[in-house]
């Protein structure tokens, strides 16, 4: 019962994080929302009994992609244009 609650709760939080990542005008905030989505996705993989994919997603999605995007934003502009 509690596991089914987790299985349905984590994707809802993921959808919220994804909507926030699109909605933010500050690109650093959008990147952090994307990192939160990746971390919740890795938690969801762990709940669904796929620890391999969870480790890969946590390493690549939540850490390396965030660092790459932050460096890319640093060399361009921070705020999104209208």
């Amino acid at each position: 019962m509690i596991e089914e609650l987790y299985i349905s709760l984590v994707p809802m939080l993921m959808v919220i994080a994804a909507i926030l990542a699109v909605h933010f005008r500050d690109l650093i905030s959008a990147t952090i929302a994307l990192a939160v989505m990746s971390l919740l996705l890795s938690l969801e993989f762990y709940i669904l009994h796929a620890p391999d994919v969870a480790i890969a997603e946590a390493g690549v999605g939540a850490c390396l992609t965030t660092a790459l995007l932050v460096f890319a934003i640093k060399s361009t502009r921070r705020m999104e244009e209208r």
Binding site: P51, D52, I55, A56, A58, G59, V60, C63, L64, A67, L68, V70, F71, A72, K74, S75, T76, R77, R78, M79
Partner: protein, 157 residues
């Protein structure tokens, strides 16, 4: 971009060793526990990226040249492909070490067992080579982008 504060540096130097140990554990125990070369390599590359973010690009670039990363990645790729070619007595990617009694050559009993490092033939060697390749590859991309950000960005918003 100003220098990161002392808090960031302290926390990074505390978190770096456990992350590194965990990544190397995931690589070396790839044939026993969940994970493998790619996953452990991503974790180790994340640990080095944490150092890169906390201590700045110049500090890391003084100790770790980009050409070293190229050499490590080539070693990983060559090790992987030569391990695959060594099994060519039977087929490509044949596991010629499994059950031979040589290094990593033991066969575990069927079913649940506590696990033994000295099993699984070529799989641990392939895990190590793929791990080296993934560490060097992913970190090289992040390092080059950090150089680009340093030469182009620099406080400009």
């Amino acid at each position: 971009m100003s220098e990161p504060s002392k808090i960031v540096k302290t926390i990074a130097s505390i978190i770096f060793p456990p992350t590194m140990v965990f990544g190397i554990y995931v690589i070396l125990h790839g044939h026993l526990t969940p994970g493998g070369g790619f996953q452990g390599g991503a974790v180790v590359a994340s640990a080095i990226t944490l150092l890169l973010v906390a201590f700045g690009t110049a500090e890391i670039a003084r100790r770790l040249k980009e050409s070293h990363l190229s050499v490590i990645e080539s070693i990983g790729a060559l090790g992987f492909i030569s391990l695959a070619l060594l099994g060519l007595t039977a087929t490509f990617f044949y596991n010629f070490l499994a059950g031979s009694g040589f290094i990593f050559g033991r066969i575990p009993p069927f079913g649940s067992n506590p696990g033994d490092m000295n099993t699984a033939g070529t799989l641990p060697l392939m895990n190590i080579s793929v791990g080296l390749k993934v560490i060097a590859g992913l970190f090289a991309v992040v390092l080059v982008l950090a150089f680009v950000a340093r030469s182009k960005g620099g406080g400009k918003r």
